[in-house]
Point group: C2
Chain length 122, copies 2
Amino acid sequence: MPLDALTINEAAETTGWSPRMLRYVERVGLVAPARTTKGYRLYGPAELQRLRTLRELLDAHELGLSDVAFAQRMRSDKALRQAVDGWFTTEPRRPSDVPAADWLRFEQEKHERLLEAAVAAA
Amino acid sequence: MPLDALTINEAAETTGWSPRMLRYVERVGLVAPARTTKGYRLYGPAELQRLRTLRELLDAHELGLSDVAFAQRMRSDKALRQAVDGWFTTEPRRPSDVPAADWLRFEQEKHERLLEAAVAAA
DNA sequence: ACAACCCTAACACGGTTGTGTCAAGGTTGT
DNA sequence: ACAACCTTGACACAACCGTGTTAGGGTTGT
């Protein structure tokens, strides 16, 4: 067994999550640890760090795991990100001299560029 | 009554939402219509548009209202946005020659600049 | 003044989230 | 071989989400 990887109960001990919740956090798509050939979960330093900061994140802003899962979905699904961003920018009295279709496409591409840069930088 | 503003039942009729849900959508912070002095809701063209596209958005990506509400919270609460963005970018093997504190601050400010631009553009 | 509308508040109810616990069975270390 | 782990699956349960319905009370238009 790798020296700097913990089993689920050990990881639970040092992160404050219960083993049950570690499995649940994995199920919802955040913090998925490596596995041994026989299926045992192995939590490395990166996973442990993510688990600790996740707890802080949730507590500090009163979020649910589903909120963070949704944020992750927005980062990985470009179409979703565009759709949501697009919804918040509907009909804010656009300049009337430019055709609507062109304006909309411009806005979409602008957001796409900006947010892709943000994600790429991550 | 303003000519191009609808009451809640009329708005429900043309948007496909139920009156109950229009009140709920307002409660969760999306699409808040104007009010008459006596408290009657008045849905203008902008609100009607947002309601129709909201329905499309939810259906197209299997979202809940709470997801969109959370997205809105992320756009309006800078600290939240930074915290969430920060979590997704924890410990991805940063360049080892730059002190951790500086690197972290640099990343935070970079995200802040990019996302502020995106929101300001909206 | 009366019907037809609007308001808020509440009860109801199936579905999801977050969490614990327990069961049945495979793996590991001594 | 045996205790001490690990796995998945299921039952349970409070809290919340999305939605309808109903009740009690104001407002508006004819």
